[in-house]
C-alpha cells in the first residue's frame, strides 16, 4: 500500500504526513519530560535533607553538552546536504552525528559506573561519609581481619545473593600468605550475625530468603534448625486441632509450605466469619426506620451498630509464626540492604527474623573516605536551635577518629580564613552583616580535593585528575582518611544509586530516560545512513523528509539536555 503525502504536503495541513506525526509524538514527549522536571522541582522543594547541590562532576556533563549541540548542528547539515543532493556529504555529517551519540553514551556510562561503585554511609547522627569500602575476611581461626590500605579498592558488589563465606582467591594473594590458605573472604560492608533462633512469618516468608538462610546454614555444617513448639492448626473451627509440624521438625521449604497452607486456610475462614459479623451488623442497623437514608460514616457511630460476638466461636485465630532453633549459633553473612539489624536480631526482607548476636567487629564498615559531609548535621542542629558547630563536634566520627577530628580542625580554620577574605573583598551591608559568607556546603562538606589539600598541608592546590570523581588508585588517595564505622552507628549505607536519596533517584530516572532517547534516535538516524541509499536513488526528497523528521526528534533530545545540564550539574 502506498502511504500518501510522504513527499508532498497535504492541502489541509500544509505538511507532509510524517511531520504531523513527529510533532504529535514530540508533544507527548514534552509532557513526559515536563512531568519529570516538575517531579524534580517538587522533590527538591520538599526535600527534608540538604539537597546535593553541584555534586556531579561538571566536566563530563559539559563535554556531553558540547557533543549534543554539535550533533544537532551536524544532523541539520546532513539534512541540508540531502536537499542539495550531496549524498557523500550527507553520509559524513550523519556519521559524525552517530559518533557524537556513541561518545555521549560512553561518557554517561563512565559517570554511572563511578556512582555505582561509590559508597555512601549515613550515620545515626546524620554524618555522611562517602568513599570506598575495603575487602575483609575471617581467617582459619575465625578471627575477622580487614585488608585495608588503598591497594585494594576493587568493587566487590558482584557477589552472590547472599555472600556466603568464600575460600577462593578473589582478592589477590597478599593477605592469604599472612593468614594461611583457609581464609574466607567477604566485603567489610556486610552484616555478620550469629543466630541460634529463626522466627518465620508463615504469611510473608519468601522461599528465596529462607532458601538463602538454608544454603548458608548447610555451608556452616553445624547443627540443623529444629522446630521448638509443635505447629498445631485446623482449617475451620468445626475441625479438631491437628499437629501439622511436630516439635523437632527440620526447617525445610516443604514443611513451611505445609504449615502455610493450613494457616492461610484458617485465616480465610476467619475473614469469612468477620465479614459475616459485619454484614449482619449492617443489615440490622439499616433495618431501623430512618437509617437507610443516613450516610454510612454516621451509621458506624450509631449505638445500634453492634458486632454479634456469638460468631467468635467460629474463629480459628491461627498462629502466624513458627520458631526454629539450633544448638550451636550459625554465622550468617548478609547484604546490608537485605536486613535490618540490631544488637540481638536481624529482620530479613520477608519479615522473618534471626535472633542471636550481631558480630559488631565483623559488621563494621571500613572505608577510605573521600568526602565527609556535616551539612545534614548542621541542618538538623539548626532546626533544633542548637549551634551547628557544637553539634558537629559531638558527632561520633569527630569523637572517635582523631584523623577526621584533625581534618575538621583544619577545615574550620580554612573556613575562618575564607570568611575574613570575603569580608575584606566584599565588605558589609547597611546592617553591618558581611555581604558574602561561605556557603553551607563550603562550611560543612569536606570534599575529596580538600582532603588531599589538608593531607599535603597545602591549602590551595589546583585541579586534580579524577574525571568522574575521586580516583582511589591515584597517589593522592593516600590522604583519604581510613575510617572504621561500627554497624550500630550506621543509619543507612548504599552505593550512589536511586536508593541513596531522591536526588539520585530523579537523576538516574531522567538521565536514564534521556539516554534511551539518544540510543533510539541514533538507531533511527543510523538506519537512514546505512539503508537510505536505495530511497535516495528512488526519491531523494522522501529521504530528506525522513531525515528532517528524525532530526526533529534529535533536536528535541538536545533540547532536554540543554535543561538537564544546568539543573542537575550546576544548581
Amino acid at each position: 500500500m502506498e502511504i500518501p503525502f510522504t513527499v508532498t504536503a497535504r492541502k489541509d495541513t500544509g505538511l507532509y504526513n510524517s511531520k504531523v506525526g513527529i510533532w504529535l509524538f514530540l508533544a507527548s514527549e514534552v509532557m513526559l519530560f515536563g512531568g519529570l522536571f516538575s517531579g524534580y522541582v517538587f522533590l527538591r522543594v520538599y526535600a527534608d535533607y540538604p539537597w546535593p547541590e553541584r555534586v556531579l562532576p561538571v566536566v563530563p556533563g559539559l563535554i556531553n553538552t558540547f557533543i549534543l549541540i554539535g550533533s544537532s548542528v551536524t544532523v541539520v547539515f546532513a539534512w541540508a546536504a540531502l536537499k542539495l543532493r550531496k549524498w557523500n556529504q550527507f553520509r559524513i555529517f550523519m556519521l559524525i552525528t552517530l559518533t557524537c551519540a556513541a561518545v555521549f553514551m560512553v561518557l554517561k556510562g563512565i559517570e554511572y559506573k563511578a556512582k555505582w561503585g561509590h559508597q555512601a554511609v549515613r550515620m545515626d547522627d546524620f554524618v555522611i561519609l562517602e568513599g570506598h569500602t575495603h575487602p575483609a575476611g575471617i581467617d582459619a581461626d575465625g578471627n575477622v581481619f580487614h585488608v585495608g590500605g588503598h591497594a585494594s579498592v576493587e568493587d566487590h558488589s558482584d557477589g552472590p545473593h547472599y555472600i556466603a563465606a568464600k575460600t577462593d582467591d578473589a582478592h589477590g594473594g597478599d593477605h592469604h600468605a599472612e593468614h594461611g590458605p583457609a581464609v574466607k573472604d567477604f566485603r567489610t560492608n556486610v552484616v555478620v550475625f550469629d543466630a541460634n533462633e529463626l522466627v518465620i512469618n508463615l504469611e510473608t516468608y519468601h522461599e528465596g530468603v529462607i532458601g538463602g538462610i538454608l544454603e548458608q546454614s548447610e555451608k556452616a555444617n553445624s547443627a540443623n534448625w529444629t522446630l521448638v513448639q509443635p505447629y498445631v492448626g485446623r482449617e475451620t473451627a468445626r475441625e479438631d486441632e491437628q499437629i501439622i509440624l511436630s516439635a523437632g521438625a527440620k526447617l525445610s521449604l516443604e514443611n513451611l509450605a505445609k504449615a502455610r497452607e493450613v494457616y492461610l486456610a484458617a485465616k480465610a475462614n476467619d475473614s469469612k466469619v468477620r465479614t459475616k459479623q459485619l454484614s449482619d451488623a449492617w443489615a440490622k442497623v439499616k433495618d431501623i426506620p430512618g437509617n437507610k437514608e443516613r450516610p454510612n460514616h454516621e451509621l458506624v457511630q450509631d449505638e445500634n451498630f453492634k458486632i454479634n460476638e456469638d460468631f467468635d466461636q467460629f474463629l480459628v485465630s491461627p498462629t502466624s509464626t513458627v520458631t526454629f532453633q539450633t544448638d550451636e549459633p550459625i554465622t550468617f553473612v548478609l547484604k546490608p540492604r537485605e536486613v535490618r539489624e540490631s544488637a540481638e536480631s536481624a529482620l530479613l526482607a520477608d519479615g522473618s527474623s534471626l535472633n542471636g548476636q550481631l558480630n559488631t567487629e565483623a559488621s563494621a564498615i571500613e572505608m577510605a573516605a573521600d568526602a565527609i559531609d556535616f551539612t545534614f548535621v548542621a541542618q538538623r542542629a539548626e532546626e533544633k536551635g542548637v549551634d551547628p558547630l557544637a553539634a558537629v563536634e559531638k558527632t561520633w566520627i569527630i569523637q572517635n577518629n582523631p584523623q577526621v577530628a584533625a581534618i575538621w580542625k583544619a577545615h574550620t580554620e580554612k573556613i575562618a580564613k575564607l570568611e575574613e577574605e570575603l569580608l575584606e573583598k566584599y565588605g558589609t551591608d547597611k546592617q553591618g552583616n558581611p555581604k558574602r559568607v561561605p556557603t553551607e556546603k563550603e562550611r560543612y562538606r569536606i570534599t575529596w580535593q580538600e582532603l588531599v589539600n589538608y593531607g599535603e598541608g597545602n591549602e590551595e592546590k589546583g585541579v586534580f585528575s579524577g574525571f568522574a570523581g575521586p580516583d582511589h588508585t591515584k597517589d593522592y588517595a593516600k590522604h583519604f582518611p581510613e575510617v572504621l564505622v561500627p554497624r550500630e552507628e550506621v543509619n543507612l549505607e548504599t552505593k550512589f544509586t536511586p536508593r541513596w536519596n531522591t536526588y539520585y533517584a530523579i537523576y538516574f530516572l531522567i538521565t536514564g530516560l534521556h539516554g534511551l532517547h539518544v540510543i533510539g534516535g541514533a538507531i533511527v538516524l543510523g538506519y537512514f545512513l546505512f539503508f537510505g541509499k536505495k530511497m535516495y536513488l528512488n526519491n531523494p526528497e522522501h529521504l530528506a523528509n525522513r531525515v528532517e523528521v528524525g532530526g526533529l526528534f534529535w533536536h528535541f533530545v538536545d533540547l532536554v539536555w540543554i535543561f538537564l545540564f544546568p539543573v542537575l550539574y550546576l544548581m
Binding site: L24, G35, L84
Partner: protein, 127 residues
C-alpha cells in the same frame, strides 16, 4: 521552508552560526555557576543563579527550536500542537503540586505544624 539551493546554502551558514552561539551560551552557563566574579546574589547557589541558569537554557532552547527545528517558519498546525503540549505540561506541573495537598498520603513532619511532604505515622494530620 527553505527549499531553493540558494536558500538552503544560506540556511546552512545560519545553522553553523547558531551552533557556535549555543557553544558560547554553554560556556556562559558554566561560568556563571563557577566563577565567583559572575556569581550574583549570595555566594554559592541561590534563586538568582537558578533564574540566570534557566534563562540561558531557555535562550538556548529557543534557538534550537526556532532555527534547527524550523519553528521560525512553520505551518499553523505545528504551532498548535506545540502550544497545546506546553499547556498540557504546565497542567502536569500543577497536578504534581496538587498531590501535596492530599492529607492522607502527605502529612506533617517531625515537628508540630510542619509539613514535611511525606506521611509520618507518628505525627498524623489532625482532623
Amino acid at each position: 521552508m527553505a527549499d531553493s539551493v540558494a536558500e538552503i546554502k544560506k540556511a546552512t551558514k545560519l545553522y553553523g552560526f547558531i551552533g557556535l552561539t549555543l557553544f558560547f551560551f554553554t560556556i556562559l552557563t558554566v561560568a556563571v555557576a563557577t566563577v565567583e566574579a559572575l556569581d550574583f546574589g549570595v555566594r554559592g547557589f541561590d534563586h538568582i543563579d537558578a533564574i540566570i541558569g534557566l534563562a540561558i537554557a531557555s535562550i538556548k532552547a529557543s534557538l534550537v527550536m526556532l532555527i534547527f527545528m524550523h519553528l521560525n517558519h512553520e505551518k499553523k498546525l505545528v504551532y498548535f500542537l506545540f502550544v497545546m503540549s506546553i499547556i498540557a505540561a504546565i497542567f502536569l506541573v500543577w497536578l504534581t503540586g496538587w498531590a501535596f495537598e492530599d492529607p492522607i498520603t502527605y502529612g506533617q513532619g517531625d515537628h508540630a505544624g510542619e509539613k514535611s511532604g511525606f506521611y509520618n505515622p507518628e505525627n498524623p494530620v489532625e482532623k
